[in-house]
Protein backbone atom coordinates (compact mmCIF):
# COMPACT_ATOMS: atom_id res chain seq x y z
CA UNK A 1 0.00 0.00 0.00
CA UNK A 2 1.43 3.38 -1.02
CA UNK A 3 -0.82 5.64 1.03
CA UNK A 4 -3.22 4.59 3.74
CA UNK A 5 -5.43 7.15 5.46
CA UNK A 6 -7.38 5.99 8.50
CA UNK A 7 -10.09 7.71 10.56
CA UNK A 8 -8.77 11.16 9.83
CA UNK A 9 -10.28 13.97 11.93
CA UNK A 10 -9.27 17.52 11.05
CA UNK A 11 -10.56 20.72 12.60
CA UNK A 12 -10.32 24.34 11.48
CA UNK A 13 -10.79 25.99 14.84
CA UNK A 14 -14.25 24.79 15.88
CA UNK A 15 -15.19 23.50 12.43
CA UNK A 16 -14.97 19.75 12.07
CA UNK A 17 -13.72 19.70 8.49
CA UNK A 18 -12.88 16.01 8.12
CA UNK A 19 -14.98 13.59 10.14
CA UNK A 20 -13.14 10.31 10.26
CA UNK A 21 -12.36 9.60 6.65
CA UNK A 22 -10.43 6.53 5.49
CA UNK A 23 -9.13 5.70 2.05
CA UNK A 24 -6.05 4.42 0.31
CA UNK A 25 -3.95 4.72 -2.83
CA UNK A 26 -2.16 1.75 -4.33
CA UNK A 27 1.10 1.92 -6.23
CA UNK A 28 0.48 3.02 -9.83
CA UNK A 29 -3.11 4.16 -9.35
CA UNK A 30 -4.98 7.35 -10.12
CA UNK A 31 -7.40 7.83 -7.24
CA UNK A 32 -9.84 10.69 -7.30
CA UNK A 33 -11.63 12.49 -4.50
CA UNK A 34 -14.73 14.19 -5.83
CA UNK A 35 -17.28 16.31 -4.08
CA UNK A 36 -18.79 19.75 -3.88
CA UNK A 37 -17.16 22.94 -2.66
CA UNK A 38 -16.39 22.67 1.05
CA UNK A 39 -16.66 18.90 1.20
CA UNK A 40 -13.14 18.65 2.59
CA UNK A 41 -11.19 17.65 -0.50
CA UNK A 42 -8.44 20.26 -0.25
CA UNK A 43 -8.30 19.80 3.52
CA UNK A 44 -7.53 16.13 2.93
CA UNK A 45 -4.63 16.95 0.61
CA UNK A 46 -3.26 19.66 2.90
CA UNK A 47 -3.32 17.21 5.79
CA UNK A 48 -1.45 14.56 3.80
CA UNK A 49 1.22 17.05 2.72
CA UNK A 50 1.64 18.18 6.34
CA UNK A 51 0.37 21.77 6.09
CA UNK A 52 -2.48 20.81 8.43
CA UNK A 53 -2.32 18.53 11.45
CA UNK A 54 -5.10 16.02 12.15
CA UNK A 55 -6.59 15.77 15.62
CA UNK A 56 -7.05 12.02 15.31
CA UNK A 57 -6.29 9.33 12.81
CA UNK A 58 -3.28 8.20 10.89
CA UNK A 59 -1.72 8.68 7.48
CA UNK A 60 0.74 6.00 6.49
CA UNK A 61 3.01 6.42 3.48
CA UNK A 62 4.73 3.11 2.67
CA UNK A 63 3.86 1.97 6.22
CA UNK A 64 5.51 5.05 7.76
CA UNK A 65 3.35 7.31 9.91
CA UNK A 66 3.68 10.81 8.42
CA UNK A 67 1.24 12.87 10.53
CA UNK A 68 4.14 13.72 12.86
CA UNK A 69 6.55 14.76 10.10
CA UNK A 70 6.80 18.47 9.12
CA UNK A 71 5.63 19.42 5.62
CA UNK A 72 9.10 20.26 4.33
CA UNK A 73 10.35 16.76 5.22
CA UNK A 74 7.35 14.94 3.73
CA UNK A 75 8.44 16.13 0.27
CA UNK A 76 11.66 14.18 0.44
CA UNK A 77 9.73 11.01 1.35
CA UNK A 78 8.18 11.14 -2.11
CA UNK A 79 4.90 13.05 -1.74
CA UNK A 80 4.46 16.22 -3.73
CA UNK A 81 1.46 18.51 -3.71
CA UNK A 82 0.33 20.78 -6.54
CA UNK A 83 -1.75 23.19 -4.50
CA UNK A 84 -5.15 24.59 -5.31
CA UNK A 85 -4.92 27.86 -7.22
CA UNK A 86 -1.46 26.80 -8.51
CA UNK A 87 0.47 28.93 -6.01
CA UNK A 88 3.41 29.37 -8.32
CA UNK A 89 6.05 31.87 -7.20
CA UNK A 90 5.07 34.88 -9.31
CA UNK A 91 8.28 36.94 -8.85
CA UNK A 92 10.48 33.96 -9.73
CA UNK A 93 11.27 32.87 -13.28
CA UNK A 94 9.93 29.60 -14.66
CA UNK A 95 13.40 28.10 -14.26
CA UNK A 96 13.62 29.26 -10.64
CA UNK A 97 10.15 27.86 -9.92
CA UNK A 98 11.26 24.49 -11.25
CA UNK A 99 14.49 24.70 -9.24
CA UNK A 100 12.43 25.26 -6.12
CA UNK A 101 10.44 22.15 -6.99
CA UNK A 102 13.72 20.25 -6.85
CA UNK A 103 14.78 21.97 -3.62
CA UNK A 104 15.18 18.73 -1.64
CA UNK A 105 17.36 17.10 -4.27
CA UNK A 106 21.12 17.44 -4.41
CA UNK A 107 22.40 15.82 -7.60
CA UNK A 108 22.44 18.43 -10.41
CA UNK A 109 22.53 15.72 -13.10
CA UNK A 110 19.34 14.08 -11.80
CA UNK A 111 17.68 17.48 -11.47
CA UNK A 112 18.57 18.24 -15.07
CA UNK A 113 17.09 14.88 -16.13
CA UNK A 114 13.84 15.65 -14.31
CA UNK A 115 13.76 19.03 -15.97
CA UNK A 116 14.17 17.47 -19.42
CA UNK A 117 11.39 15.02 -18.57
CA UNK A 118 8.91 17.75 -17.57
CA UNK A 119 9.79 19.65 -20.75
CA UNK A 120 8.65 16.68 -22.85
CA UNK A 121 5.25 16.89 -21.12
CA UNK A 122 5.17 20.69 -21.05
CA UNK A 123 7.18 21.96 -24.04
CA UNK A 124 5.75 25.44 -23.58
CA UNK A 125 7.58 25.86 -20.28
CA UNK A 126 10.89 25.40 -22.03
CA UNK A 127 10.10 28.35 -24.29
CA UNK A 128 9.22 30.48 -21.28
CA UNK A 129 12.15 29.45 -19.09
CA UNK A 130 13.34 32.96 -18.20
CA UNK A 131 9.92 34.56 -17.99
CA UNK A 132 8.51 35.49 -14.58
CA UNK A 133 5.96 33.00 -13.27
CA UNK A 134 3.44 35.75 -12.67
CA UNK A 135 3.37 36.71 -16.36
CA UNK A 136 2.21 33.27 -17.53
CA UNK A 137 -1.37 32.60 -18.60
CA UNK A 138 -3.64 30.53 -16.37
CA UNK A 139 -3.06 27.36 -18.33
CA UNK A 140 0.69 27.85 -18.39
CA UNK A 141 0.65 28.51 -14.65
CA UNK A 142 -1.15 25.21 -14.08
CA UNK A 143 1.44 23.49 -16.24
CA UNK A 144 4.24 25.15 -14.28
CA UNK A 145 2.67 24.18 -10.95
CA UNK A 146 2.33 20.57 -12.09
CA UNK A 147 5.84 20.49 -13.52
CA UNK A 148 7.18 22.02 -10.31
CA UNK A 149 5.41 19.30 -8.34
CA UNK A 150 7.11 16.66 -10.48
CA UNK A 151 10.60 18.15 -9.98
CA UNK A 152 10.96 16.45 -6.59
CA UNK A 153 10.50 13.13 -8.42
CA UNK A 154 7.58 12.06 -6.23
CA UNK A 155 6.10 8.59 -6.08
CA UNK A 156 2.76 10.14 -5.10
CA UNK A 157 1.53 13.36 -6.70
CA UNK A 158 -1.32 15.22 -4.98
CA UNK A 159 -3.23 17.34 -7.47
CA UNK A 160 -5.68 19.90 -6.14
CA UNK A 161 -8.24 21.11 -8.71
CA UNK A 162 -5.94 21.11 -11.75
CA UNK A 163 -8.85 22.07 -14.03
CA UNK A 164 -9.90 25.15 -12.08
CA UNK A 165 -10.32 28.24 -14.21
CA UNK A 166 -9.11 26.60 -17.42
CA UNK A 167 -10.80 26.45 -20.81
CA UNK A 168 -12.24 23.05 -21.85
CA UNK A 169 -9.41 22.51 -24.33
CA UNK A 170 -6.77 23.14 -21.69
CA UNK A 171 -8.62 20.89 -19.24
CA UNK A 172 -8.44 18.09 -21.81
CA UNK A 173 -4.73 18.70 -22.25
CA UNK A 174 -3.99 18.80 -18.52
CA UNK A 175 -5.87 15.55 -17.96
CA UNK A 176 -4.07 13.90 -20.85
CA UNK A 177 -0.76 14.91 -19.25
CA UNK A 178 -1.90 13.60 -15.86
CA UNK A 179 -2.53 10.22 -17.46
CA UNK A 180 0.89 10.42 -19.11
CA UNK A 181 2.57 11.15 -15.77
CA UNK A 182 0.73 8.20 -14.24
CA UNK A 183 1.80 5.95 -17.11
CA UNK A 184 5.41 6.82 -16.31
CA UNK A 185 4.93 5.34 -12.83
CA UNK A 186 3.79 8.17 -10.58
CA UNK A 187 0.73 7.42 -8.47
CA UNK A 188 -1.79 10.22 -8.35
CA UNK A 189 -4.34 11.43 -5.83
CA UNK A 190 -6.58 13.82 -7.69
CA UNK A 191 -9.03 16.22 -6.12
CA UNK A 192 -11.60 17.64 -8.55
CA UNK A 193 -14.88 19.43 -8.75
CA UNK A 194 -15.01 18.47 -12.39
CA UNK A 195 -16.21 14.97 -11.50
CA UNK A 196 -16.82 13.95 -15.10
CA UNK A 197 -13.19 14.50 -16.09
CA UNK A 198 -11.85 13.06 -12.86
CA UNK A 199 -13.86 9.85 -13.18
CA UNK A 200 -12.86 9.49 -16.81
CA UNK A 201 -9.16 9.10 -15.96
CA UNK A 202 -9.20 7.68 -12.41
CA UNK A 203 -8.98 4.00 -11.54
CA UNK A 204 -10.90 4.41 -8.32
CA UNK A 205 -12.72 7.28 -6.67
CA UNK A 206 -14.20 8.40 -3.38
CA UNK A 207 -17.13 10.78 -3.03
CA UNK A 208 -16.78 13.29 -0.20
CA UNK A 209 -19.73 15.07 1.38
CA UNK A 210 -19.28 17.52 4.28
CA UNK A 211 -16.20 15.79 5.65
CA UNK A 212 -17.36 12.20 5.20
CA UNK A 213 -16.83 9.63 2.49
CA UNK A 214 -20.27 8.64 1.29
CA UNK A 215 -19.41 6.48 -1.71
CA UNK A 216 -16.39 4.72 -3.08
CA UNK A 217 -15.52 2.27 -5.78
CA UNK A 218 -14.12 1.84 -9.26
CA UNK A 219 -14.34 5.07 -11.22
CA UNK A 220 -16.21 3.36 -14.05
CA UNK A 221 -18.84 2.04 -11.60
CA UNK A 222 -19.21 5.39 -9.87
CA UNK A 223 -19.81 7.20 -13.13
CA UNK A 224 -22.76 4.84 -13.70
CA UNK A 225 -24.10 5.34 -10.17
CA UNK A 226 -27.40 7.21 -10.29
CA UNK A 227 -26.68 9.19 -7.13
CA UNK A 228 -23.34 10.37 -8.48
CA UNK A 229 -24.87 11.06 -11.86
CA UNK A 230 -27.52 13.39 -10.51
CA UNK A 231 -25.39 15.11 -7.86
CA UNK A 232 -22.02 15.52 -9.58
CA UNK A 233 -22.25 14.76 -13.25
CA UNK A 234 -25.35 16.80 -13.96
CA UNK A 235 -26.89 14.02 -16.01
Amino acid sequence: MLLEVQDLDVYYGAIHALQGISFNVEEGEIVSLIGANGAGKSTTLRTISGLLRPRHGSIKFRDQEITVIPAEKIVSLGISQVPEGRKIFAPLTVKENLDMGAYTRKDPVEIQQSMERVFTSFPRLKERLNQLGGTLSGGEQQMLATARGLMSHPSLLLLDEPSMGLSPILVEEIFRIIQEINAQGTSILLVEQNALMALSIAHRAYVLETGRIVLSGKASDLSQNSQVKSAYLGI
Partner: protein, 375 residues
Protein backbone atom coordinates in the same frame (compact mmCIF):
# COMPACT_ATOMS: atom_id res chain seq x y z
CA UNK B 1 -29.45 58.36 -19.98
CA UNK B 2 -29.25 57.50 -16.33
CA UNK B 3 -25.75 56.18 -16.77
CA UNK B 4 -24.65 59.40 -18.43
CA UNK B 5 -25.98 61.60 -15.68
CA UNK B 6 -24.26 59.50 -13.02
CA UNK B 7 -20.93 59.70 -14.73
CA UNK B 8 -21.07 63.45 -15.32
CA UNK B 9 -22.46 64.84 -12.09
CA UNK B 10 -21.23 62.50 -9.37
CA UNK B 11 -17.50 62.67 -10.13
CA UNK B 12 -17.39 66.46 -10.21
CA UNK B 13 -19.01 66.58 -6.80
CA UNK B 14 -16.60 64.02 -5.39
CA UNK B 15 -13.47 65.31 -7.08
CA UNK B 16 -13.93 69.07 -6.99
CA UNK B 17 -12.61 69.93 -3.55
CA UNK B 18 -10.23 66.97 -3.55
CA UNK B 19 -8.48 68.17 -6.70
CA UNK B 20 -8.09 71.65 -5.30
CA UNK B 21 -6.52 70.26 -2.12
CA UNK B 22 -4.16 68.08 -4.14
CA UNK B 23 -3.21 71.14 -6.18
CA UNK B 24 -2.38 73.10 -3.03
CA UNK B 25 -0.29 70.20 -1.74
CA UNK B 26 1.56 69.81 -5.01
CA UNK B 27 2.19 73.53 -5.22
CA UNK B 28 3.62 73.50 -1.72
CA UNK B 29 5.92 70.61 -2.58
CA UNK B 30 6.99 72.35 -5.75
CA UNK B 31 7.94 75.50 -3.83
CA UNK B 32 9.84 73.36 -1.33
CA UNK B 33 11.71 71.58 -4.12
CA UNK B 34 12.57 74.82 -5.90
CA UNK B 35 13.80 76.32 -2.63
CA UNK B 36 16.00 73.30 -1.91
CA UNK B 37 17.36 73.37 -5.45
CA UNK B 38 18.06 77.12 -5.16
CA UNK B 39 20.02 76.66 -1.93
CA UNK B 40 22.03 73.79 -3.36
CA UNK B 41 22.82 75.43 -6.69
CA UNK B 42 23.68 78.81 -5.16
CA UNK B 43 26.11 77.20 -2.76
CA UNK B 44 27.57 74.99 -5.45
CA UNK B 45 28.43 78.11 -7.48
CA UNK B 46 29.65 80.10 -4.50
CA UNK B 47 31.90 77.44 -3.01
CA UNK B 48 32.33 74.21 -5.03
CA UNK B 49 34.94 72.87 -2.59
CA UNK B 50 32.61 73.10 0.37
CA UNK B 51 29.89 71.55 -1.74
CA UNK B 52 32.16 68.63 -2.65
CA UNK B 53 33.03 68.18 1.00
CA UNK B 54 29.36 68.05 1.96
CA UNK B 55 28.61 65.51 -0.78
CA UNK B 56 31.45 63.27 0.41
CA UNK B 57 30.19 63.46 3.99
CA UNK B 58 26.66 62.75 2.77
CA UNK B 59 27.75 59.73 0.77
CA UNK B 60 29.64 58.35 3.75
CA UNK B 61 26.56 58.72 5.95
CA UNK B 62 24.53 57.16 3.14
CA UNK B 63 26.81 54.11 3.08
CA UNK B 64 26.30 53.66 6.84
CA UNK B 65 22.55 53.78 6.32
CA UNK B 66 22.78 51.43 3.36
CA UNK B 67 24.51 48.73 5.40
CA UNK B 68 21.76 48.94 8.04
CA UNK B 69 18.87 49.41 5.63
CA UNK B 70 19.62 46.14 3.83
CA UNK B 71 18.81 44.19 6.98
CA UNK B 72 15.57 46.10 7.50
CA UNK B 73 14.42 45.54 3.98
CA UNK B 74 15.37 41.86 3.77
CA UNK B 75 13.72 40.98 7.05
CA UNK B 76 10.62 42.96 6.11
CA UNK B 77 10.55 41.19 2.77
CA UNK B 78 10.44 37.77 4.34
CA UNK B 79 8.47 38.11 7.60
CA UNK B 80 6.76 41.49 7.07
CA UNK B 81 8.28 42.67 10.33
CA UNK B 82 9.97 46.02 10.89
CA UNK B 83 12.79 44.81 13.06
CA UNK B 84 13.38 47.84 15.26
CA UNK B 85 16.12 45.99 17.13
CA UNK B 86 18.22 46.08 13.97
CA UNK B 87 19.84 49.45 14.79
CA UNK B 88 20.90 48.03 18.15
CA UNK B 89 22.49 45.03 16.50
CA UNK B 90 24.53 47.64 14.61
CA UNK B 91 25.50 49.17 17.98
CA UNK B 92 26.54 45.77 19.35
CA UNK B 93 28.76 45.36 16.28
CA UNK B 94 30.57 48.58 17.16
CA UNK B 95 31.01 47.54 20.81
CA UNK B 96 32.25 44.05 20.01
CA UNK B 97 35.00 45.57 17.88
CA UNK B 98 35.76 48.07 20.66
CA UNK B 99 36.35 45.25 23.14
CA UNK B 100 38.24 43.06 20.71
CA UNK B 101 40.60 45.98 20.06
CA UNK B 102 41.01 47.38 23.59
CA UNK B 103 40.82 44.18 25.65
CA UNK B 104 42.30 41.56 23.36
CA UNK B 105 44.37 43.53 20.81
CA UNK B 106 42.76 41.37 18.18
CA UNK B 107 43.86 43.76 15.43
CA UNK B 108 47.52 42.86 16.00
CA UNK B 109 47.19 39.08 16.16
CA UNK B 110 48.98 38.46 12.83
CA UNK B 111 52.07 40.27 14.17
CA UNK B 112 52.05 38.09 17.29
CA UNK B 113 51.53 34.80 15.47
CA UNK B 114 53.76 35.57 12.47
CA UNK B 115 56.36 38.11 13.71
CA UNK B 116 57.97 38.53 10.29
CA UNK B 117 54.92 39.94 8.52
CA UNK B 118 55.06 43.42 6.97
CA UNK B 119 53.10 46.05 8.89
CA UNK B 120 50.62 46.71 6.09
CA UNK B 121 49.62 43.04 5.88
CA UNK B 122 49.21 42.91 9.67
CA UNK B 123 46.90 45.92 9.60
CA UNK B 124 44.73 44.56 6.79
CA UNK B 125 44.39 41.03 8.19
CA UNK B 126 44.00 42.33 11.76
CA UNK B 127 41.25 44.78 10.83
CA UNK B 128 39.43 42.19 8.74
CA UNK B 129 39.51 39.83 11.73
CA UNK B 130 38.05 42.51 13.99
CA UNK B 131 35.28 43.18 11.47
CA UNK B 132 34.62 39.48 10.96
CA UNK B 133 34.31 38.83 14.68
CA UNK B 134 31.77 41.64 15.02
CA UNK B 135 29.82 40.28 12.08
CA UNK B 136 29.74 36.80 13.61
CA UNK B 137 28.62 38.06 17.02
CA UNK B 138 25.88 40.15 15.40
CA UNK B 139 24.73 37.16 13.37
CA UNK B 140 24.47 34.97 16.46
CA UNK B 141 22.68 37.76 18.33
CA UNK B 142 20.15 38.29 15.54
CA UNK B 143 19.40 34.57 15.20
CA UNK B 144 18.88 34.38 18.96
CA UNK B 145 16.56 37.41 18.93
CA UNK B 146 14.56 35.89 16.10
CA UNK B 147 14.22 32.50 17.80
CA UNK B 148 13.40 33.86 21.24
CA UNK B 149 11.33 36.95 20.50
CA UNK B 150 9.87 36.79 16.99
CA UNK B 151 9.40 33.13 16.06
CA UNK B 152 6.80 32.42 18.78
CA UNK B 153 4.81 35.36 17.38
CA UNK B 154 4.98 34.37 13.74
CA UNK B 155 1.27 33.59 13.52
CA UNK B 156 0.21 36.37 15.88
CA UNK B 157 -1.05 39.72 14.53
CA UNK B 158 1.77 41.78 13.04
CA UNK B 159 1.42 44.50 15.65
CA UNK B 160 2.42 42.03 18.41
CA UNK B 161 5.74 41.28 16.73
CA UNK B 162 6.30 44.97 16.03
CA UNK B 163 5.86 45.90 19.69
CA UNK B 164 8.14 43.02 20.65
CA UNK B 165 10.77 44.38 18.27
CA UNK B 166 10.62 47.75 20.02
CA UNK B 167 10.94 45.91 23.33
CA UNK B 168 14.00 44.00 22.16
CA UNK B 169 15.48 47.28 20.94
CA UNK B 170 15.09 48.93 24.36
CA UNK B 171 16.39 45.81 26.06
CA UNK B 172 19.60 45.85 24.04
CA UNK B 173 20.11 49.57 24.62
CA UNK B 174 19.61 49.54 28.37
CA UNK B 175 21.09 46.13 29.04
CA UNK B 176 24.15 47.32 27.13
CA UNK B 177 24.21 50.49 29.22
CA UNK B 178 24.80 48.51 32.42
CA UNK B 179 28.25 49.06 33.91
CA UNK B 180 29.28 45.42 33.70
CA UNK B 181 28.00 44.92 30.12
CA UNK B 182 29.15 47.79 27.90
CA UNK B 183 28.97 51.16 29.63
CA UNK B 184 26.40 53.96 29.99
CA UNK B 185 28.88 56.61 28.81
CA UNK B 186 30.24 57.86 25.53
CA UNK B 187 33.61 56.24 25.03
CA UNK B 188 36.38 57.15 22.60
CA UNK B 189 36.87 54.45 20.00
CA UNK B 190 40.42 53.37 19.21
CA UNK B 191 40.66 52.62 15.52
CA UNK B 192 42.41 49.34 14.71
CA UNK B 193 44.44 51.23 12.11
CA UNK B 194 45.55 54.79 11.49
CA UNK B 195 43.02 56.66 9.39
CA UNK B 196 44.69 58.53 6.55
CA UNK B 197 43.33 61.72 5.00
CA UNK B 198 43.56 62.46 1.31
CA UNK B 199 42.94 65.72 -0.49
CA UNK B 200 42.16 66.59 -4.05
CA UNK B 201 44.63 69.09 -5.50
CA UNK B 202 46.01 68.23 -8.93
CA UNK B 203 44.92 64.62 -8.45
CA UNK B 204 44.57 62.74 -5.20
CA UNK B 205 47.30 63.37 -2.65
CA UNK B 206 47.90 61.91 0.77
CA UNK B 207 47.96 64.36 3.67
CA UNK B 208 51.16 64.32 5.71
CA UNK B 209 50.46 64.73 9.45
CA UNK B 210 51.76 68.07 10.73
CA UNK B 211 51.86 69.62 7.29
CA UNK B 212 49.04 72.08 6.56
CA UNK B 213 46.67 71.57 3.62
CA UNK B 214 47.48 73.56 0.47
CA UNK B 215 44.59 75.99 0.83
CA UNK B 216 40.89 75.27 0.33
CA UNK B 217 40.64 71.65 -0.95
CA UNK B 218 38.25 68.73 -0.73
CA UNK B 219 39.43 66.07 1.69
CA UNK B 220 38.34 62.53 2.35
CA UNK B 221 39.65 59.72 4.55
CA UNK B 222 40.65 56.13 3.95
CA UNK B 223 37.49 55.18 5.86
CA UNK B 224 35.43 56.79 3.10
CA UNK B 225 37.20 54.60 0.55
CA UNK B 226 36.62 51.51 2.71
CA UNK B 227 32.94 52.43 2.98
CA UNK B 228 32.59 52.63 -0.79
CA UNK B 229 34.34 49.31 -1.34
CA UNK B 230 32.48 47.55 1.48
CA UNK B 231 29.04 48.79 0.51
CA UNK B 232 29.45 48.02 -3.16
CA UNK B 233 30.84 44.59 -2.31
CA UNK B 234 27.90 43.89 -0.02
CA UNK B 235 25.45 45.05 -2.67
CA UNK B 236 27.06 42.83 -5.27
CA UNK B 237 27.22 39.82 -2.94
CA UNK B 238 23.59 40.25 -2.01
CA UNK B 239 22.45 40.43 -5.63
CA UNK B 240 24.41 37.27 -6.31
CA UNK B 241 22.99 35.56 -3.22
CA UNK B 242 19.38 36.42 -3.95
CA UNK B 243 19.40 35.65 -7.66
CA UNK B 244 22.02 32.97 -8.19
CA UNK B 245 22.09 30.72 -5.14
CA UNK B 246 19.57 28.10 -4.08
CA UNK B 247 19.11 29.56 -0.61
CA UNK B 248 18.65 33.03 -2.11
CA UNK B 249 15.95 31.87 -4.51
CA UNK B 250 14.37 30.01 -1.58
CA UNK B 251 14.38 33.32 0.32
CA UNK B 252 12.41 34.98 -2.46
CA UNK B 253 10.04 32.01 -2.73
CA UNK B 254 9.48 32.03 1.04
CA UNK B 255 8.87 35.76 1.10
CA UNK B 256 6.22 35.35 -1.61
CA UNK B 257 4.32 32.36 -0.25
CA UNK B 258 5.31 30.45 2.89
CA UNK B 259 2.94 27.44 2.64
CA UNK B 260 3.88 26.92 -1.01
CA UNK B 261 7.56 27.14 -0.05
CA UNK B 262 7.03 24.41 2.56
CA UNK B 263 5.42 22.23 -0.10
CA UNK B 264 8.68 22.51 -2.06
CA UNK B 265 10.54 21.11 0.94
CA UNK B 266 11.96 24.49 1.95
CA UNK B 267 12.52 24.74 5.69
CA UNK B 268 10.92 28.14 6.18
CA UNK B 269 12.31 28.61 9.71
CA UNK B 270 15.84 28.06 8.47
CA UNK B 271 15.38 30.48 5.60
CA UNK B 272 14.04 33.15 7.97
CA UNK B 273 16.95 32.64 10.38
CA UNK B 274 19.34 32.89 7.47
CA UNK B 275 17.78 36.19 6.39
CA UNK B 276 18.14 37.66 9.86
CA UNK B 277 21.73 36.40 9.95
CA UNK B 278 22.71 38.02 6.65
CA UNK B 279 21.12 41.34 7.60
CA UNK B 280 22.83 41.31 10.99
CA UNK B 281 26.23 40.53 9.48
CA UNK B 282 25.97 43.64 7.31
CA UNK B 283 24.82 45.71 10.30
CA UNK B 284 27.83 44.43 12.25
CA UNK B 285 30.13 45.47 9.42
CA UNK B 286 28.44 48.88 9.34
CA UNK B 287 28.80 49.20 13.12
CA UNK B 288 32.56 48.71 13.05
CA UNK B 289 33.07 51.09 10.12
CA UNK B 290 30.80 53.68 11.73
CA UNK B 291 32.75 53.52 14.98
CA UNK B 292 36.06 53.92 13.14
CA UNK B 293 34.73 56.82 11.07
CA UNK B 294 33.05 58.78 13.87
CA UNK B 295 35.46 57.64 16.65
CA UNK B 296 33.13 57.65 19.65
CA UNK B 297 30.52 55.11 20.70
CA UNK B 298 27.76 54.60 23.26
CA UNK B 299 24.89 52.19 23.70
CA UNK B 300 22.30 54.36 22.01
CA UNK B 301 24.30 55.09 18.89
CA UNK B 302 22.12 52.67 16.93
CA UNK B 303 18.83 54.48 17.50
CA UNK B 304 19.03 57.36 15.04
CA UNK B 305 21.04 55.63 12.31
CA UNK B 306 18.67 52.68 12.73
CA UNK B 307 15.58 54.86 12.33
CA UNK B 308 17.06 56.70 9.37
CA UNK B 309 18.09 53.47 7.72
CA UNK B 310 14.51 52.35 8.20
CA UNK B 311 13.36 55.57 6.51
CA UNK B 312 15.87 54.86 3.75
CA UNK B 313 14.41 51.40 3.25
CA UNK B 314 10.92 52.93 3.04
CA UNK B 315 12.09 55.63 0.61
CA UNK B 316 13.64 52.99 -1.63
CA UNK B 317 10.61 50.73 -1.34
CA UNK B 318 10.69 48.35 1.60
CA UNK B 319 11.52 44.81 0.51
CA UNK B 320 13.70 46.01 -2.37
CA UNK B 321 17.47 45.57 -2.04
CA UNK B 322 18.57 48.13 -4.66
CA UNK B 323 15.90 50.41 -3.21
CA UNK B 324 17.50 50.28 0.23
CA UNK B 325 20.82 51.29 -1.29
CA UNK B 326 19.47 54.21 -3.29
CA UNK B 327 17.21 55.33 -0.43
CA UNK B 328 20.16 55.30 1.95
CA UNK B 329 22.26 57.51 -0.34
CA UNK B 330 19.35 59.94 -0.71
CA UNK B 331 18.97 60.10 3.07
CA UNK B 332 22.67 60.62 3.71
CA UNK B 333 22.96 63.36 1.10
CA UNK B 334 19.79 65.14 2.19
CA UNK B 335 20.95 65.10 5.77
CA UNK B 336 24.43 66.39 5.08
CA UNK B 337 23.21 69.11 2.73
CA UNK B 338 20.84 70.24 5.47
CA UNK B 339 23.66 70.27 8.01
CA UNK B 340 25.90 72.22 5.69
CA UNK B 341 23.50 74.79 4.32
CA UNK B 342 20.62 75.12 6.78
CA UNK B 343 21.48 74.04 10.31
CA UNK B 344 22.73 70.96 12.13
CA UNK B 345 19.64 70.34 14.30
CA UNK B 346 17.52 70.41 11.14
CA UNK B 347 19.11 67.18 9.88
CA UNK B 348 16.77 64.85 11.77
CA UNK B 349 13.75 66.96 10.92
CA UNK B 350 14.59 66.75 7.23
CA UNK B 351 15.16 63.00 7.44
CA UNK B 352 11.73 62.35 8.87
CA UNK B 353 10.10 64.95 6.62
CA UNK B 354 11.32 62.82 3.73
CA UNK B 355 9.62 59.83 5.34
CA UNK B 356 6.33 61.71 5.62
CA UNK B 357 6.55 62.99 2.05
CA UNK B 358 7.28 59.52 0.67
CA UNK B 359 4.40 58.03 2.62
CA UNK B 360 2.09 60.76 1.33
CA UNK B 361 3.14 60.75 -2.31
CA UNK B 362 4.42 57.27 -3.07
CA UNK B 363 3.91 54.92 -0.10
CA UNK B 364 5.50 52.03 -1.99
CA UNK B 365 8.80 53.91 -2.29
CA UNK B 366 10.98 54.33 -5.34
CA UNK B 367 11.41 50.65 -6.20
CA UNK B 368 8.55 49.09 -4.26
CA UNK B 369 5.59 47.29 -5.71
CA UNK B 370 2.14 47.84 -4.28
CA UNK B 371 1.54 45.20 -1.66
CA UNK B 372 -1.42 43.01 -2.31
CA UNK B 373 -3.19 41.49 0.64
CA UNK B 374 -2.96 37.74 0.40
CA UNK B 375 -5.57 35.55 1.98
Amino acid sequence: MQKASVSTTAPTLAHGPKTRLAWVGQGFLLILAVLALYIVVRNLIQDPVQFGQIIIGGLQLGFVYALIALGYTMVYGIVKLINFAHGDVFMVGAFVSFFSVTKFNLESWPAVVFPGLPAAVVVVIGTLTVILLSMIVCTVLAITIERVAYKPLRDAPRIAALITAIGVSFFLEYFGALKFVFTPEFIPYPSPFTVVTFYINNGIQMMVPGKPLPGHVVTFTSIFVIFIVATLLVQFLLQYLVHRTKIGIAMRATSFDKPAARLMGINVDQVISFTFAVGAAFAGLGGVLYAIAYSSIWTQLGILPGLKAFVAAVVGGIGSIPGAFVGALIMGLAENLTMGYISTPMRDAVAFTILILVLLIRPTGLFGEPEKEKA
